[in-house]
Every structure is written in C-alpha cells, then in structure tokens.
C-alpha cells in the first residue's frame, strides 16, 4: 500500500540523517503557540506591572529590596510560607499515596464515584470550604455538637478555625486529588509483572515497593509534589479565611501591600521572591526527573488491576477509603446537608451555652426555590441555570485551550534527547502557577490596554487567565506518560515510514489517552472553581457559579447564607457530573489501549 511505498522511499534517507535533525524544526514550530501565548498573556503583563511598580519606588530601584530584606516580619512571612507549604505537601502525599495505590491497583465498586468526590474539593471557593469545615468542625459543628452532648462538655472541645491545623487540613482537602490523579493514573499502568518477577526471585513486598515500584513512580510523585508545593506556596484564600490573622504567606502579604497600602514597589519585590522560589524548585525538579524517568512498557489499567480478595486487604482498603472520605467527603456532605436543612434555635440551657444551639427540624428546599426568584428586580440577578451555563462555557473553553497548548508542549518536553532550547524553557512553564494573582491581575490592566489587545474589560480574559493556571497542570499530567513511552515504539513506527504526526496519532496519543483525560479534568475543575481572576474581570450580568456564591455570602441575612450553601451544592454537583462525564468520554472516543 501507500505506506509501504513511503517506507521504502524514506528509509535510506532517514537512516542517513539520524533521528534528531528533523524534529528540531518541528519542535520549534510546536513551541510556537504555547510560547506566543505565554509571552503575550504572562511575561508581557508581568514585565509591565513590575516596571510600573519599580518606577514608583522612592529613591533607587534597590530601596524596596532593602526594605523587604530588612523587615523581620517579611522574613517571618517567607519562612512561614515555606514551612506550611512543605508540611502541606508531605501530609498530602501521606494521605494521597495510599489512596493512589488503592485506586491504581484494585478494582472495586464505586471507584469512579470516590475519584469524582475527591475531585469536587478542588473546585470549591475558599469561602465555601470554610463554611463546609465550619458545618463539620466549627464551634457548633457536627463533631463538636456530638462530643459536647456525648460527654456533657461545657464548651466545644475542638478549636478549628484560626489554627495551623486548619490550614494544613484545608490544603490536604484541596490537593489530595492531585496526588490521586497524577500518581494513581500512572501507577495503574505500571506493569505489575516487574514486581512479580522480583517476588519470584525472593524479594519481599517491602523491597519490591522500595526498590522497584517507588523508583518507577518517582516522576509522577515528583510532578504531583511539585504542583502541590507550588499551589500551597502561593496559597491565599485558605490562609486568609481558615488560618486567620495570625498567619501570613507571601501571597497574602502581597495582597495587603497592594490593596490596603498601595505599596507597589514592595509588593513587586515580594512577587519576585515568589517567582524565584518557584523557578528554583522547578529547575531542581526538572533535573531530578530527567534522571529518574525511564521508558517503560505501560499496560492497560484493566490488566494491572485486580479484585480485593483477602479480609486483610479489605480491611486496609477500608481504612484508606475511610480516611479519604472523612477528610474530603465529610465536609462536602455537611455542606450539602445544611443547604437542605431547616434549623431552629432552641431555648438556651446554661450560661456558657447560651447561644441557643440550632436543632435540626427536617428537610426543606426553600434555599433552592429562592435562588430562582429575583426579589428586588436586580440588574445583576442571575438564575442558577445561567450561572451554570456561564461556568461551563468558560470551563469548556479552558479545557480546549489548555489541551491545545499543553499537548504539543508536553510532547516536546518528553523527547528523550530534547534540545537545549526545550530544556531551558521547561521550568518557565510552571511560573504562572507560582505567580501572585494580585500582581498578574494588575499586569493585565497595565499591559493589555490598547487595540487590538485592549482586553482590560473583556470576558475573553477569563478563559485566558484560567488557561494560564491550567496549562502547567496539563503539561505535568501528560509528561510522565509521554516520557515513559518506549522510544522503540516510535522508532519502529518511523522506520515503517510513518510521518511524525502519524507516529504521534497512532503511538503517542492512544498511549496517553488516559493522561489526557486527567489533564482535561484538571483544566475543567480549575476553571469551574476559579474565583480570584474571575472576580476582577467578569461581566456582572453573567456571573460564574463561584461569583454568584460570593455575592450571596457577602450579605447579611439567613436566607442569603442558605442560598449561598444551596448554590455551593449545585457547584459540587456540576463539578461531579462534569468529571464523571469526562471519565466516560474515554469509552466513546479514544478508548483505552
């Protein structure tokens, strides 16, 4: 056929050229779209705002740097930022890895539900998460309430808000899904026969884990750890709302310096410190991973997974699921429960408990009904159906954009002998994640201010901003899978005469289909839950769900709060259904190999 003739025609030339001359041009071309995107919507705005900020410095450009270095409180902020990010990352891995193992290696009913449930946490705005944890662990939350009535205590035994514990638990709540998805997905394709072979040769289970499985998993674990670390390093809402006034990270300090004091030069210095930290970490990561990853023959998940048969296995699996559920699902459940509950305050009993403990009086849909009524004829009132449509629209655009930009990028990064150009650009890709949202938001205002790019008030900016955050996730989800594709497969295909694009379509794409869905899920959830950038640019007539929740929760009145909880529950449902739909998509389209 045609292919055979092509093979004959190109074979000698290819052998003569060597494999790496042609891809160099391809790789430059493939870099082009992501590069232009980053230059236009990341480096240019960032550079502009930093320039403007430093121009406002009194004295020399060094003054704000000296101011920052001299301030003991800023050194404290930096130390705490590192400390809480490190703790959060370790704890998230500690919870996430056993979960990833379970989801990767075993087949049991309700698995995709558990996966979707843990992913829902990722989309919830901080104010909603705070409300959820409060419904569970607050002074009158389910847990304290139960403990107080069980042991006849005078006051709530658990103090949750305004503690470091609250910050760490909330970070685990948000980020465990990153570990579950990135590591779990990769793990499910690892060939179990490697471990089985070692066992046959006399290694015990612990040795197999330590010497074989963990080293093979390292690239995925490192990817997940890096993302979690950068996410928590730049944490804002969790620190502010759950950590309380005792704690400050670089990001909350940047916000304070920018918004409250309008000290732009100092804010710029802090934003630069944040950037340098992210960059350094990413460079270390890139070095580490390039030494760690090796080509593997990945297996379809249905071959690597088995049923849980022993009682001991069931018991351990039960514990892992219980931990995941109580960490992630219990607050979500408490939130949903409150949104459909009718509470009434009882007559108070003792002096110290004179708050009038709320008592549950049955179910009601009043909060949901009220969402559909525009009582004050308000201009910016939006029906839940409208907000859902707006949110899904932005999320869809983000998925498409992030994949279109992320897939070629990941493909180039995973080339075994990538060019110097690619290698030096790699760490830059993570920068948007580690950049202060406050700073970048102002950068858009300063930079994108003249036609044809006067996007300062354009809703187009929303999917673009979401893509900036989703893009690194897409790249990091795809590279471990692409890395592990044995080059022999590609070589075989090229030798048979397949063009690079054909190789990509018939070799790479099916092999990374699963990782692609993980990437799509991340892009979808990031966009669905994003609040910080959206609130700065959204059109008030067409709010996203988080924006509509924010409007309700910032107003006094029990009914407003109830509606906020109801809309939060709707957001959870939309996210859950969306993620399950993406999961199904695999069967309809690319199919697992």
């Amino acid at each position: 056929m045609d292919g055979d003739r092509a093979a004959l025609k190109y074979l000698p030339a290819r052998l003569f050229q060597g494999r790496f001359n042609r891809p160099r041009l391809t790789s430059v071309l493939l870099w082009l779209a992501p590069l232009i995107f980053l230059l236009l919507f990341y480096f240019y705005p960032l550079g502009s705002i930093l320039t403007v900020s430093f121009a406002r410095a009194q004295g020399s450009i060094l003054t704000p740097f000296i101011e920052a270095l001299r301030s003991a409180s800023i050194r404290g902020v930096l130390a705490f930022t590192f400390w809480q990010a490190l703790l959060s990352t370790l704890l998230t891995l500690a919870i996430g890895l056993p979960g990833a193992y379970l989801l990767a290696r075993y087949d049991f009913r309700g698995k995709s539900i558990i996966k979707a449930l843990t992913g829902i946490a990722f989309v919830l705005p901080t104010l909603v998460v705070a409300a959820a944890f409060n419904a569970l662990l607050g002074p009158q939350g389910m847990v304290n309430y139960t403990l107080m009535s069980a042991f006849g205590l005078e006051g709530p035994p658990i103090h949750f808000t305004n503690t470091l514990t609250a910050i760490l638990i909330a970070h685990m709540f948000y980020n465990t899904t990153i570990v579950l998805r990135l590591v779990g997905d990769f793990w499910s394709h690892l060939d179990p026969r490697l471990g089985q072979a070692a066992e046959v040769l006399g290694a015990n289970k612990w040795n197999v884990m330590r010497r074989i499985t963990l080293p093979l998993l390292m690239p995925a674990i490192a990817s997940a750890a890096l993302l979690v670390f950068i996410f928590t390093f730049t944490s804002f809402g969790v620190i502010l709302v759950l950590g309380g006034p005792q704690f400050a990270t670089l990001e909350t300090e940047i916000y304070y310096q920018t918004v409250s004091l309008f000290n732009l030069p100092l804010a710029a210095v802090l934003a630069l410190i944040q950037l340098v930290c992210t960059l350094t970490l990413t460079i270390i990561y890139t070095r580490l991973v390039s030494g760690l990853s090796r080509p593997l023959s990945l297996r379809p998940a249905h071959i690597t997974q088995r049923k849980i048969t022993t009682w001991r296995g069931r018991f351990l699996a039960g514990i892992v699921i219980l931990v995941l559920l109580s960490l992630i699902v219990a607050p979500l459940f408490a939130l949903g429960f409150r949104s459909i509950s009718n509470f009434e305050r009882t007559a108070s009993a003792t002096a110290r408990q004179g708050y009038g403990t709320p008592v549950w009086r049955g179910f009601t849909l009043d909060n949901y009904r009220e969402l559909n009524i525009n009582r004050r004829g308000s201009l910016f009132y939006a029906r839940p159906t409208t907000t859902i449509a707006v949110s899904l629209g932005y999320a869809g655009a983000t998925v498409v954009l992030a994949i279109l930009l992320g897939l070629p990028t990941a493909w180039i990064l995973s080339r075994r002998r990538s060019s110097f150009f690619s290698r030096s650009l790699d760490p830059l890709l993570m920068l948007p994640l580690g950049t202060s949202a406050v700073t970048l938001g102002l950068g858009f205002i300063v930079a994108l201010d003249s036609p044809p790019l006067d996007l300062r008030a354009s809703p187009l900016l929303i999917p673009l901003a979401h893509t900036l955050v989703a893009f690194p996730f897409v790249v990091r989800s795809l590279t471990p899978a692409l890395h592990s594709i044995s080059p022999r497969l590609r070589e075989a295909a090229s030798v048979m005469g397949a063009q690079p694009l054909t190789v990509f379509r018939h070799v790479d794409l099916p092999l990374v289909a699963r990782a692609l869905l993980v990437a799509a899920t991340f892009a979808f959830t990031i966009s669905l839950g994003e609040f910080g950038a959206t609130v700065l640019i959204a059109r008030p007539e067409y709010p996203t769900i988080p924006l509509a929740i924010y409007r309700l929760i910032t107003r006094p009145g029990a009914l407003n709060y109830g509606q906020a909880l109801a809309l939060s529950t709707i957001l959870m449902l939309v996210a859950g259904v969306g993620m399950l739909a993406i999961e199904r998509f695999r069967i309809a389209d690319v199919g697992e190999f």
Binding site: Y355, R376, L379, V535, L536
Partner: protein, 343 residues
Amino acid sequence: MNKKIILLLVSLGMILTACASGPQTLKVMTHDSFAMSEELKTAFEERNDVTLEIIASGDTGSALNKAILSKGNPIADVFYGVDNTFLNRALEEGIFEVYDSPVLDVIPDDFELDPQKRALPVDFGDVCLNYDRRYFDDLGLQPPLNLADLLKPEYEGLLVVTNPATSSPGLAFLLATIRQFGEDGYLVYWQGLKENDLLVVNDWETAYYSEFSRSGGSRPIVLSYASSPVFEVIYTDAPIDEPPTGIVYGDGACFRQVEFVGILDGTKQRGLAEKWVDFMLSTAFQEDIPLQMFVFPVNQNAQLDPAFTRHLVVPEMPAFVSPEDIAHNRERWIQEWTETVLR
C-alpha cells in the same frame, strides 16, 4: 453563486454600520458589591439613548488600583465606589475630573469630603457592633452600650471583630476606637479587649456566618453594619417581626463609611458621564440603593422602604476621621494594632 456572496457581504456591512451608529456606550467601573434595579438601568438608557456597561473589578481597593493604573487611558468613563478610607489615594493619584453637579444642593455638606468636587458622595453605611438579642435576653444580661463597656468582665469572651489589615469594616472599627480613645489611648483599649478574650478573624463572612452565635458560633457580639439587623428581617428564612440582632450605637461606637462617584480623567464621554453622576444622586436611584446595596442614600429627599423606617437604628454620632489622616497613618495604625493584638 457570486451574487449571493455579494448580497451577503452587503447585508453584513449594513448590519455592522447599523451597530456602529447605534447608541453610544457609557462605561461605569465599580466594585463587586455594586447592584441596581433593572428598570432603573433601562430608564437611564432610554432617556439618554445610551448603552450602560457596568465593569465590576473586585473589592474596593482592587477596583481603585485598576483605575489608578489605567489613568490617562481609562477603562471606563465613571468610577463609583471609592470610600472615605481610600478617598485620599484616589484624589492624590488624580484619577477624577472636577464636576460640580447641580444635585449636590440636596446633599448635606457633611458628606462632601472633597471640597474640589472631584469625588461626589453617593451613599453611606455605618460600621457598628451587632449583638445577638437572644443571647442577652436568655441570660438577662444588658447588652453593651458603648465601646468602653466591652472591657467589663461580663462581656469576657463575647466579641469577634475583623482584622483591619484585610477587612474594610475591621479598618473602620479600628478608626472608631482611635477617634474615641485618641492616639495615646487606643492601644491601651485594644490591650484591654485582648485581655477580655477578644477574637479576631480576617473577614466579615467568617465573623458573621461562622463565629457569631446567631449563625451557630460562640460569640454573641460581632462587627458588622448598622443595617444588618434590618436585613436579618428582610432576608429571613422564617418570617419574623423584630430584628434578631441589635447594634451598639453609643457615642462614637460606629464609623461612617461614605462612598463616592467621580468622572474618570480622560473620558471621551464627558456629557454622558455627567448625566450618569446626576442620575446616581437623583431621588430615583438613591431610593433604589438600600435594598440593592445595603447602604443608605445621601440625598435628603430619598424615601426609605418601610422595613427601614420601622427597624433601622441610625447612630447619631458616628466617628469621623479625615481621609488625609487615614491615608497618612493607615500603615502605622495597622502595624501598631497588629503588634498589640495579634502578637
């Protein structure tokens, strides 16, 4: 075939020119709490043959920063929402053009904090402590009447306020205490509050919906607004006749926030912008303000909704600190407060 394409192009061109020569657009930049009635918007648009575009830009501080950084090439024609704690920043950066609106005649002079009339007052709201009536009734305890009362032992462990560094009511309350106890005394007062087991959280939502006893928390006195009790009646899940909360309105216990509107320097729609400013100060818009934005009209002729006339308590002597003083001392005050209360 070609004819069809030409026809299509011609009609497309006609549609485009029709769009271009349609009504002009007036852009109003504001914060994310802005709201108004749909019918008022339509009325303004029809009367002036204009399309109104509202650009919400985050909280007050963020929106103002955006306006400052786009000075000279403004994103919008009008900016609404800068309050007296930020007014000085807006005026010093020179983002507004002078406009002496004729409607200012019916607005009390107290509200006009910018004598040069670059920023014109639109509405005000009082930041006050709220208390949970139920708690005090059940215990037969007298609610506090003024700021000094809060140091008494019977109010130990009852108060939750917000951080002045992160929350606008938090800053307002700090200013009220500075006004009341002076530069020499305010830190002593806060030290006393701290010893009386004060709780500080970063945002109003956490204070009001998590820590306040009415929402299931354990603190029956919370920092909020003078209007909050009325909204508890209006936005209630079960109909009630009396507000479930009251305010502490003794002399100087509340701080008055005034919000301003101004025409952005460099606008190409000066005439329309003036019309919009007049409209915001007019009775129709002013009467719409309370139920949309939870603050109150400065226009003396505006009538309030019966819910307000029945339940609203307006503090007679709210604390006042000049915008210049706030701007010059803000950082130091917040820093000193932080050292005293949080360390």
